[in-house]
């Protein structure tokens, strides 16, 4: 008897949740890491999305209906994002899904959106398998490998440094950047002296810094996020290693400079948000973001902002909120956004220029642009 | 009669202290031997060496002439030993009855296979009740042990030891903490069990009961053999008196 009662309560509780009902707004679903170690990127993504929706609604909304953002927390955890994706589709009836989260949760959510035939845009997650989930999945930023290849060109050709040390963050972000970098290193005459790996939880890097000092490289290609790169760079400079450090979009943001302080001067990163850009979309975004969020714009917020804008534009082009029509509109879209012109290839990947930014007097500034088509070409299938 | 239990040249050291030095003794089938001696003479250590809880520096312990010094405790117990603890250690999460029921089911937990296949506990319940009545604590059967006074727990130890149907019963101060009336009743019960053929080795300070129910005495004093034999003669020997009463 007791077991029957237990099953009854389980079904009742579960059924009770599925009571979504349609209304007059168009819903876009967004999952971000609001709690856990990636909470800061979750916050930036939320601001980026909210700014986009505010701007769109002020300009008359989409198909003269208001755009509504439905945000859920996935704790940057793959097993959390599956129920979240199903909830967005099944309950909130979103017409487009957007990922403002890391590669793990984005990969598992992509499968769910593909199966439900709802278009899904990954803002800044870089894992190659995301778009391979199917034709309903798109990515508005460049892959890890592509950014790694750009890093090789930046060091080998633009900066003309040949003896390089790699410090790789041991997660999918760090690994795919390292793969891209190694792929093209030889082409730009780079010899990789050594590669050291560290874990996401590390904040003190005494051992690696000591070894790098002994290696005495010409340049250091270090992958990481601001909360690992900040402490790493300040320890490198403090221990007397003055070789230039080249990073990626993981450093992008004012927090990195705040943590590393003077040591941040001269650090160069490959990213997609050019702070000195004259392009109106980018310049206006940077200004508007700071007004809304109260801190300088960063790549994460810009990418999510771009993704939401594309979703809205696609609905306008398709003149319908039917997911299938929206998907076709997205695949054919060509739009200038804060992170560059967005055009998708067959696999749903974009070809964007890599904006290299450098820290000068405590601020990110333009350093150079990489736009060789075949170097930055994303995979086709 | 051949010795059912024998221990030769038992030497035990804890750190620097020699708890037992070259102690040897034997017990015949059905005999009631009492181990006596002042506190710290090494009586409990000797018992624990026999059951394998304490690892001796060297010793040769045999049950029916079969060497058991190398065997782990549970294998020695299965050869017919049973032990009550000086400091009572009932299963606190169980009731009085369940403590004895578990012991009574010793055949059913002999190996994993049996323990999975056997389900019913009714026959053990009957056996357990019999043992509780034997030490007359049957009226407390459904009480959790945590609420029981020392006297009941001492008798529970005896009932539980009997429940595994041993050939040799090792009792470690079973009467300690009982009032004189309870002590003599429990002593009678133990005597009765021994008369039914149970070989018994008892450590006890209550000398009047010891003299009343033991067949033979074995006296230890700070880890060494002092004397042994008929209870009355042994108590008359001067060195035994001085060991107990102090010179």
């Amino acid at each position: 008897m007791k077991k029957m009662m237990l099953i009854a309560t389980l079904c009742f509780v579960v059924a009770g949740l599925g009571t979504g009902w349609a209304d007059d707004t168009i819903k876009i679903g967004l999952h971000v890491p609001l709690t856990g170690f990636a909470a800061s990127d979750g916050k930036s993504s939320t601001f980026g999305a909210e700014l986009a929706v505010k701007q769109i609604n002020e300009a008359g909304g989409v198909l003269d209906k208001k755009l509504e953002l439905v945000i859920y927390d996935d704790q940057a955890n793959p097993s959390q994002s599956i129920p979240v994706a199903n909830k967005l589709i099944g309950q909130d009836r979103v017409v487009v899904g957007v990922s403002g989260s890391y590669s793990g949760p984005t990969r598992s959510a992509a499968g769910v959106f593909q199966e439900a035939q709802i278009p899904y845009l990954s803002a800044y997650a870089i894992h190659p398998d995301i778009t391979r989930a199917g034709n309903y999945v798109f990515r508005t930023s460049f892959l890890g490998e592509v950014q790694g290849r750009a890093g090789a060109k930046l060091i080998g050709e633009i900066m003309d440094k040949k003896r390089v040390i790699m410090i790789t963050l041991k997660n999918d972000f760090g690994k795919s950047l390292a793969a891209g970098f190694k792929e093209k290193a030889a082409d730009f005459g780079i010899t990789i002296v050594n590669e050291y790996e560290y874990s996401m939880k590390d904040r003190q890097f005494g051992a690696i810094v000591a070894k790098v000092k002994a290696d005495n490289p010409e340049a250091i290609y270090a992958s990481g996020y601001y909360f690992t790169a900040g402490p790493l760079i300040s320890e490198l400079r403090a221990s007397g290693v003055n070789a230039p450090v080249i990073g990626q979009e993981g450093y992008d943001g004012s927090k990195f400079i705040e943590i590393a302080g003077k040591a941040a001067e001269g650090v160069i990163i490959t990213t997609s948000l050019d702070r000195d850009s004259k392009v109106p979309e980018t310049a206006n975004y940077i200004a508007e973001f700071e007004k809304l969020a109260g801190y300088p714009a960063d790549m994460v917020s810009a990418s999510v902002h771009t993704a939401v804008k594309i979703a809205a534009q696609a609905m306008e082009n398709a003149k319908s909120t039917d997911p299938v029509k929206i998907r076709d509109a997205i695949s054919r879209i060509s739009m200038k956004a804060s992170t560059g012109t967005i055009e998708f290839n067959a696999l749903g990947e974009v070809q964007k220029n890599v904006q290299n930014q450098i820290v000068r007097d405590g601020k990110w500034h333009h350093h150079s642009v990489i736009d060789d088509p075949e170097l930055l070409a994303p995979p086709e299938k | 009669m051949a010795a059912i239990l024998s221990a030769e040249a038992v030497t035990v050291r804890f750190g620097g202290i020699t708890a037992l030095k070259d102690v040897s003794f034997e017990v015949k089938q059905g005999e009631f031997l009492s181990l006596i001696g002042p506190n710290g003479a090494g009586k409990t250590t000797l018992l624990k060496t026999i059951t394998g809880i304490v690892k001796p520096a060297n010793a040769s312990i045999k049950i029916n002439d079969r060497e058991i010094t190398k065997l782990p405790t549970h294998s020695r117990i299965r050869l017919g030993l049973a032990l009550t603890h000086q400091i009572v250690s009932p299963f606190k999460s169980m009731t009085v009855l369940q403590n004895v029921m578990f012991a009574a089911g010793y055949k059913k937990v002999r190996n994993i296979g049996l323990s999975i296949l056997n389900f019913s506990r009714s026959s053990e319940k009957k056996d357990a009740m019999a043992f509780l009545e034997m030490v007359d604590i049957a009226q407390y059967k459904n009480f959790p042990v945590s609420t029981m006074p020392l006297g009941i727990l001492k008798r529970l130890e005896v009932a539980r030891a009997l429940a595994i149907k041993p050939k040799i019963l090792l009792l470690d101060e079973p009467l300690a903490g009982l009032n004189s009336q309870e002590a003599s009743r429990l002593a009678d019960t133990i005597k009765l069990i021994s008369q039914n053929g149970m070989t018994t080795v008892m450590i006890e300070h209550n000398l009047s009961e010891v003299l009343r129910i033991s067949d033979r005495l074995y006296v230890l004093d700070n880890g060494k053999y002092l004397a042994s034999g008929n209870p009355k003669e042994v108590m008359k020997q001067p060195e035994v008196r001085t060991a107990y009463l102090g010179s």
Binding site: F37, S40, G42, S199, Q204, G206, A207, A210, G261 | -
Partner: protein, 286 residues
């Protein structure tokens, strides 16, 4: 040269482990409570240290505020959380402490925001060169603080009445109570000192990394459990040696077997091997 640098970096990392773990081993030795929330006090102190220093511009004021507050919060946690469940099995206090730690982590995020704090101008960052090795002032101070604090603690434990009272209460609470040592007062004192030590470690790590974030206590929360087991329960000297050994092993391990085991795995491989050889840990437990 490289080996010396690796060794020194290992000592610096080991020193931060030591100061946190000693607080925990004091508490664990006394109450056998796995006080995971200890790492929450480490984070609380880091936040207070940075906020006060940025506000009033004086690091010493920051340290004082941080250690006092964490010490008091530690005692409050003992009084409200652990005292009522001391007689329960060990996993009860363990899970309560884990739950408390998760709640503390979330409170820090909600109050101080997810981005983490940094010093407006981080003190003690000037570089000192000794035998060609570049070390920041805060790194040197970390090792010195560790040796000094733990030296004082070991001296108190051996020589003073309070220390003997503490060790007696650890060995046998009822017995020491019968000698007039009030076990409750000893527990309050131990929680205060233990938490204050965690606070010192928190401010030091904030100086080393110039980054305070809600989840910075996660690694110390489980690593110090391994250390107090390695060092032997309640054994201050054992914990110091185990922490420094772990720091050095991790430093060399990251470079030389980094591609086989990651940092945490190295630490725990060391722990499991030691415990299988000697189940009571490296040193005799108190």
């Amino acid at each position: 040269m490289l080996f010396i640098e690796l060794f020194i970096q290992g000592l610096i990392q080991g020193s931060t482990y030591a100061i946190i773990a000693v607080g925990l081993t004091l508490i664990y030795g006394l109450l056998r409570v796995l006080h995971v929330a200890h790492a929450g006090l480490f984070t609380l102190a880091a936040y207070l240290g940075v906020t006060v220093t940025n506000q009033f511009g004086s690091l010493s004021l920051g340290i004082v505020v941080a250690t006092l507050t964490s010490g008091i919060v530690g005692v409050v946690i003992y009084r409200l959380v652990y005292e009522p469940i001391l007689n329960k099995p060990p996993y009860v206090a363990l899970i309560a402490s884990i739950g408390l730690y998760i709640a503390m982590e979330e409170l820090f995020r909600l109050i101080f925001g997810p981005f983490g704090l940094s010093f407006s101008s981080a003190p003690l960052q000037n570089v000192v060169v000794i035998f060609g090795i570049h070390l920041r002032a805060c790194q040197i101070i970390t090792v010195i603080t560790n040796v000094v604090l733990l030296g004082i603690l070991a001296w108190i434990a051996q020589k003073t009445r309070v220390g003997i009272g503490w060790r007696a209460t650890v060995d046998d609470p009822e017995m020491s109570a019968s000698f007039g040592i009030d076990p409750i007062r000893v527990r309050y004192l131990v929680f205060f000192v233990g938490s204050a030590l965690a606070a010192v470690a928190g401010v030091l790590v904030a100086l080393l990394t110039n980054l305070v974030e809600p989840t910075m206590g996660a690694v110390p929360s489980y690593k110090s459990l391994a250390i107090i087991v390695l060092g032997g329960l309640g054994n201050v000297f054992g914990t110091l040696i185990a922490s420094l050994a772990l720091g050095v092993i991790e430093a060399f391990g990251t470079i030389y077997i980094g591609d086989f085991l990651d940092r945490d795995a190295i630490a725990f491989a060391f722990l499991v091997v030691v415990l299988m050889i000697k189940p009571t840990g490296l040193f005799k437990s108190r």
